[in-house]
Symmetry: C2
Amino acid sequence: MGNGLAPTLTPRKSPRQDRSIATVDAIFEATIQVLLSDGPTRLTTTRVAHRAGVSVGTLYQYFPNKQALLFAVLEQHLSTLAEAVENACRDNQGANIETIAAGVVKAYLAARMAQSEISPALYLVAMELDARALIEAATRRSEQAIEALLFGASDGRFNDPYVIAQTLTAVIFGTVPAFCMRVMPHAASVEAEKQLTLMFSGYLAASCKAA
Amino acid sequence: MGNGLAPTLTPRKSPRQDRSIATVDAIFEATIQVLLSDGPTRLTTTRVAHRAGVSVGTLYQYFPNKQALLFAVLEQHLSTLAEAVENACRDNQGANIETIAAGVVKAYLAARMAQSEISPALYLVAMELDARALIEAATRRSEQAIEALLFGASDGRFNDPYVIAQTLTAVIFGTVPAFCMRVMPHAASVEAEKQLTLMFSGYLAASCKAA
DNA sequence: GATATATATGAAGCATTATTCAGCTTTTGG
DNA sequence: CCAAAAGCTGAATAATGCTTCATATATATC
């Protein structure tokens, strides 16, 4: 499914004046807005430009093509999620299993909720462009952060922290979208956090005994 | 993101002769083939028709539009996954927690692997058309099957089997795609099954004690 | 074999949309 | 204030692709 030719995804020109910096920001913002209000399939370059209050030509001055636009938005989104996990891991260094599980779930869920509207649209984008590299990068950041966290757990040692980190990452990155896709009453979101925490701490405890 | 006007998704005409039944089958198959080889964005009605060995006009005789085509394929795919879970649940009636966890994970993973190539493409499709109803239906089938299974578990009672069923469903339907998205060496798939089983049985055991 | 019904064809119409470019306006630096 | 550079415009281009329909072929029925 590789798209054969790989058109440049890097900016065509960097903004030099304040005016153009504002323009690029506006285009970036508008991309998100259109994604939300009109959906990924109805996102056209003209529409984005119009929403940003500029003309199409301007858009193409800074982004070589439509994909580059979406790529940039996706990159930021994934980075935000990975960062949330990293921060949670840093904050829970040396904690016990229970706390670790709760912390990681809570952090990811919060980050995801903050961007809950845009996420589904971006997953669509992620498949259209070949974004495997971006996803891989975000996944790896999460895995490494969790692995490091496990090494310092106060409760016990794990004989294969990397496998555990991989599993936890796959589950949170995978499950939460599934939860989000359904229209979720606020109460359900609290319940989801509780259940996932329970599941994670149970898993960690089990993996610990085995060591 | 609702698409405003809801164009008919039901067949425009039902095949009466053997010849046309074969045609419809060929179109359906071709849709899957094109999805796999060319990806969702390069799936055009003309291409599907050509792959099926018929002309575009013929395609439009049985499917009112492109969406209807994709809708049909998606429906079948989701139904297959839900059925896999249902069967696994039926087969494990009255088993203990350990067996239940292993059975459900194994069944879903197997069904998913069997269609691993087509799945990512379909998740893309699922967002483009408004397929929430279909996903909802498949999810509910899984939830109900698991709930029934939990009621009959030999190990113990759960005070809120529905919440547990919901959580397990979200995790398997959500996580496995995440696993699949990465290029997975076969060994990793075995490992994934093991880890998920461990996680599920831990979760069930924990939910049991609480009851 | 003749008529009616079902099925198949694919070029043409129509709409959408990514992308370019020649000319215009604004800002910068002297 | 004035050139040069940076930024902006939006109609025109070109490509793509969904859908229709007038026509042709195959099958069923009597």
